[in-house]
């Protein structure tokens, strides 16, 4: 039994590429879920998806110019993601259209441009790598890059945390205090782009957003408090990324989809059996009697 567990859970990490992928996954799991929680709470769950498409042309361009070099591809991804975010923001400001319609237009253009660029310069194998990620490609450079970006995200988030919370809760109050809410929002979107860029190596550009959103939406079934949501989402992301890697190793399936599907299973189970708003919670309605102490 112990041997079987060892063979399933520990032995795969004898390989260097598995260890690097696992560490990279854990680093991403610290940074991505808090972003997802804020995106979800602001009703911007799909913006992450749009951003993931937006980094594709930059990644493709980096790939065309420098080959399969992670720093080049990441830099391209960050630049094109930020560019699309700024373009969408300014187009919506100029035209008065809602930001999501501008974002939708731009991410479709980006996706088409990205796919076009990759197929011009490489084969369909390369395209799959970029779109869906590959654990085999996580070398030391990639790992350092992922860890560095994740650290920057966590530290920056800690610095803007209170401003971000107040901006989400009551933008008018923050504006009244003379703090530019748009700046906080801009920094936050920048972090989202950074995060997706860090994630595309293991997960692929399209799947990177999954590690951001799925743990966050799952956590909503388990907590009603911000700290709770973030904490639970981080743990879920860690379990999903490590478990997904193991599944991908044992079943010889691509790592990105395996990780995200595992997180998806967590989401489905939580929707059925979670503590709040789930199907089970709906069936077993329970209320504390009057005069009972307030839960913390």
């Amino acid at each position: 039994m112990i041997e079987l567990l060892h063979e399933w859970l520990v032995a795969p990490f004898d390989y260097g590429f598995m260890r690097r992928a696992a560490v990279g996954g854990l680093a991403l799991s610290l940074a991505a879920p808090p972003m997802g929680v804020f995106l979800m709470l602001r009703g911007m769950s799909l913006i992450g998806d749009a951003m993931a498409h937006a980094i594709l042309p930059g990644v493709a361009l980096g790939f065309l110019l420098a080959g399969f070099s992670l720093p080049a591809m990441s830099l391209g991804g960050i630049l094109s993601g930020l560019l699309v975010a700024m373009l969408a923001g300014s187009v919506s400001q100029m035209t008065g259209h809602r930001e999501d319609s501008a974002m939708a237009s731009f991410f479709l253009i980006s996706l088409a441009a990205g796919v076009m660029l990759v197929s011009l310069g490489g084969s369909s194998v390369d395209l799959t790598h970029v779109l869906f990620g590959s654990i085999l490609a996580v070398n030391s450079t990639a790992l350092i890059l992922i860890a560095a970006i994740s650290s920057v995200i966590v530290i920056t988030l800690a610095l803007i945390f209170r401003a971000l919370v107040v901006e989400c809760l009551d933008p008018l109050f923050l504006r009244g205090q003379g703090t530019h809410g748009g700046l906080v929002h801009g920094i936050f979107l920048g972090l989202v782009v950074l995060n997706l860029t860090a994630g595309f190596q293991t997960l692929g550009t399209l799947m990177a957003v999954g590690l951001m959103m799925l743990p966050a939406t799952t956590a909503r079934f388990w907590s009603k408090r911000l700290e709770g949501l973030i904490g639970i989402a981080v743990v879920l992301a860690m379990v999903a990324s490590t478990g997904g890697l193991l599944l991908s190793y044992h079943l010889s399936i691509p790592s990105g989809p395996a990780i995200i599907l595992l997180a998806g299973v967590g989401y489905m189970l939580s929707a059925l059996f979670g503590r709040h708003h789930s199907l089970l919670a709906r069936l077993r309605r329970h209320a504390a009697p009057l005069g009972a102490p307030e839960p913390h």
């Binding site: 989400c168 809760l169 008018l172 504006r175 009244g176 703090t179 907590s223 307030e294």
Partner: protein, 281 residues
């Protein structure tokens, strides 16, 4: 206290009874009587100088001259669409004046505004205590940690508003009255010196009205300048020291008593600017 508006109303300028166009009248009406008199009066951190405000190129208010006395509660009265919210936005600096200016010596972070349509996201997972604590922004900003002393102040504020038992309740689960109390709690934490309230007692039960009235009166007594949009006559009599009637694009300083004595009903306040009934006391 001296009711300056009465003085003005007893001595209406010669043109006041004529149905002249509003703008010249208002300038004379306020320019001759009120502004001159008030400048020798109690200190004021908020003055309006010939203010003109517009929403989407449509002038809502013009030639608004006047001042809000420190430590007094001024009721803003007027029918829908007369520019109450516009004036508040102008005072808060959210709306740039077309002409004239707002002179406000209260630092920006000590001004508080509770609009009628809250920008508050009630689905955001935050408790009453956390909301009240965000009022520490002027002293703590984005980074400084809250110390025990500040948490104690937060609890005192909640006790004063009778919401201590709701400290850990999520905002989304509050009633309208409880939410209003929590928001006033935030302005108390903020140590607001200028507080603008847009119909704070709408959809609020009588007990909450009583609690809020007490707190607001205490705030005024401690020197806070309060501007409150009111529709209810009873609330006007209980809360306001002064009143500003908005009608036909102009603002008229008067006293709540004048309005309450029935000479000027709020419904007919619109006629005030034309020098109609009840002007002579």
């Amino acid at each position: 206290m001296p009711l300056l508006a009465d003085v003005t109303l007893r001595h209406p300028p010669p043109g006041a009874r004529r149905r002249t166009a509003g703008s010249t009248l208002a300038r004379r009406f306020l320019g001759n009587g009120m502004v001159g008199l008030m400048s020798q009066e109690a200190p004021s951190r908020l003055r309006l100088h010939d203010l003109q405000l517009a929403q989407a190129n449509r002038t809502v208010l013009e030639h608004v001259d006047g001042r809000f006395r420190d430590g007094a509660t001024t009721a803003l009265i007027g029918a829908n669409g007369t520019g109450k919210s516009t004036l508040i936005q102008g005072i808060m600096g959210m709306l740039k004046p077309v002409a004239g200016r707002v002179e406000c010596t209260v630092p920006r972070e000590r001004r508080a505004w509770l609009p009628q349509q809250l920008a508050l996201d009630l689905t955001f997972p935050m408790s009453v205590e956390e909301l009240v604590m965000t009022g520490s922004w002027p002293s703590h900003g984005a980074h400084k940690g809250y110390c025990a002393h500040h948490y104690r102040r937060g609890r005192e504020v909640m006790a004063r508003l009778g919401i201590s038992h709701l400290a850990h309740r999520p905002l989304g689960e509050l009633s309208g009255g409880q939410r209003q109390r929590a928001l006033i709690g935030r302005t108390l934490m903020q140590e607001a010196e200028l507080l603008l309230l847009d119909e704070p007692f709408a959809n609020v039960d009588t007990e909450t009205v009583d609690v809020l009235m007490t707190v607001l009166r205490d705030m005024a007594a401690s020197g806070v300048t309060l501007i409150v949009v009111l529709h209810d006559m009873e609330q006007l009599s209980r809360l306001a020291d002064e009143a500003v009637v908005l009608a036909n694009g102009h603002a008229h300083w008067t006293s709540p008593q004048t309005i309450l004595q029935g000479q000027i009903s709020v419904a007919s306040a619109a006629t005030l600017s034309l020098g109609m009934p009840g002007v002579s006391a």
